[in-house]
């Protein structure tokens, strides 16, 4: 983290820490280089109203785009309190993942770009999905996981999306959320980011969807949350 980024992080974290001071102070202290602050973005429903935690159904999966206009994230309600977790990487480093947010501390969000080979939900297909308890994964024979059906990487959303099966080399990038006055916000990312490669790999597709890569890269301050099943024509599970 260079000096400018560090100062930017400190400023943003200082503001954000008003919401949860203990979390953010430990966050910035322990994970220099792993936590990146973006625009603070309000999560809203299809009508533009702030999404309420009770509207996030634990039996469903939701998508929103953050921190860029074209970078998809999965939002899920795990249905129970999710405590913070230490996420270890194969290079020996680690970071502290915040755990769930919301009144029941059960809501989590992750980048929906698979850390293995970049599969992500598109308007055509969603190969990477959250499997709620009522739709268990056929690979690990249980629900409560995020799984990519292209190469069978499986992640645990209750543990900072750590890899529990398959070839993914590291966890999904966590989206840092905050819950303030009944509203949910996205604040930044935690973990290894893949956005630069993502924009490079999918340039032609993103141009079709957003007219230009510049527009696809635009940072957002408001995120519409919809069900993945509404976004992708076909949700492929395995």
């Amino acid at each position: 983290m260079d000096r400018r980024d560090f100062l930017k992080t400190c400023t943003a974290v200082a503001a954000a820490s008003l919401a949860s001071p203990s979390f953010f102070s430990s966050l910035v202290e322990a994970q220099e280089g792993k936590f990146k602050v973006y625009k603070k973005a309000l999560l809203v429903d299809k009508n533009g109203n702030p999404i309420k935690p009770e509207d996030i159904d634990p039996r469903k999966q939701y998508i929103f785009f953050y921190p860029h206009r074209a970078t998809p994230c999965l939002l899920t309600n795990l249905g129970k309190e999710v405590p913070p977790a230490k996420v270890k990487l194969s290079d020996g480093t680690s970071y502290n993942w915040q755990g769930g947010v919301g009144p029941k501390k059960s809501i989590v969000a992750y980048s929906a770009i698979c850390s293995h080979q970049f599969s992500h939900p598109t308007p055509e297909f969603s190969f990477i999905n959250y499997y709620p308890e009522n739709i268990p994964s056929k690979i690990v024979k249980r629900g409560g996981v995020i799984q990519c059906c292209a190469h069978l990487s499986v992640f645990d959303p209750a543990q900072g999306a750590k890899v529990i099966d398959g070839p993914a080399p590291f966890p999904l990038t966590a989206i840092v959320l905050s819950y303030e006055d009944g509203k949910l916000y996205a604040l930044g990312t935690l973990g290894k980011e893949l956005f630069e490669d993502f924009f490079d790999m999918f340039k032609p597709d993103l141009r079709k969807l957003y007219r230009s890569t510049r527009k696809a890269k635009k940072l957002v301050d408001r995120c519409e949350v919809i069900e993945v099943e509404e976004y992708a024509k076909e949700v492929i599970r395995c």
Binding site: S90, C114, H116, Q117, F118, S119, F125, F127, K138, I139, C149, A150, H151, L152, G166, P167, P169, D197, D200, M201, E234, I236, C238
Partner: protein
Amino acid sequence: MRKRSSGVDRRKLLAGSLSLIALSGVSTVIAKRGSLLPPPKGNRVVVLGGGYGGVTAAKYVKKEVPEADVILIEKNQLFVSCPLSNHYLVGLIDYGQLCFPYNRLHTKYGVKVVNDVVADIDLPKRRVYLSRGYIDYDYLILSPGIEYDYDSAPYFKEANWYYPGAFRPGSEHLYLRRLLEEFEGENIVFTVPKMPYRCPPAPYERAALVLSYIKENGLKAHMYFIDANEYPPVLRDGFMKAYEDFYRGMATYITGATIKDVDLGTRKIKTDKGEVRFDFGSLIPPMRAPKLLEDIGLIYGREKWVRVNPMTFETKVRNVFVIGDSCESYLPKSGYAANSQAKVVARIVASRIRGKEYGGELIQHGVCYAMVNLKSAIMLEVEYKYNIKTKEITKVLREDNTWKVSTAKRYYEWARGLWRDMFF
């Protein structure tokens, strides 16, 4: 017999060098040409072969150790994928979708790509001879794929001029597709060599796709599927059920058959289980690691593949690794397996360059898909986890033999993901 410090027999090494130069038509003068590149500032890693294993190894070594000088040697200017080539044969995708340039490996990661033919490798000297000069290395990763083994089945050589095996990327697939498009009916013959060979499910997938194509195009044809194996070596239940469900009466499956001869004049294949006349076919010959690896002393006696440490892919020569189809490994020979093995080796090489041995878990992972008709597919996953410290190996094998349209869609994404991983 006295061994050199590299573990390679000197006499065999010299004989190999000379015979290879003679065979390849490359003058001995070439071997005397100078170094092709200036000496590196740090460690140099030479990767031979720009297929799934080589491209992945070059990219990941450079990603892990940017200061290393990484050279990828490949004779072709473009990468052409064998995975998904059966899709191309029956018109499900265009040929261009299988092709990728190597330029991004250089512009994005700094891998030097050298388009040339390898004439020889001197393992004791740690030197690779190309047609234009030589390159010295500190680490060598060999990923040269397969050669057709015409020595063990000479009748295939001429037969393949007319009916390609199409198990090497390039013109064989283009020509086989043209033959299929021109085919107007009657007898088809497909042959499968005895395991091990490149991509075990591919011949069975090709048979299913061509039968599906014939059905779709209303051709009157019968396929004779001559298999040196008793059954499909992978996804057996899925293939057998699909053949039964979709192609009953359209094909004769001759198993455990040994081919004795191919008569191109009468278009007959003679086997120990009878004779088959054919009008069109794909004759897949037996395969082996390229002879270059035998010539430099990495293959013993009558063996066809390089023996390596099955979890680290290191040969008997330290810092020389063989990955992909050329080596004997736990994973089936396939592009995906080579991609996975390359990452293992990249990790080991990167650690050694940094002055320590890799001590973490090494994971080899294989996922294979196979079409059973023009719309549906089956798949399997196999994984080996090796803990270097405890020496424990854990294996996972999962097959999904129920054919599904959604599995075919995953198949495309599987391939696209691999190509992204290699070239972006």
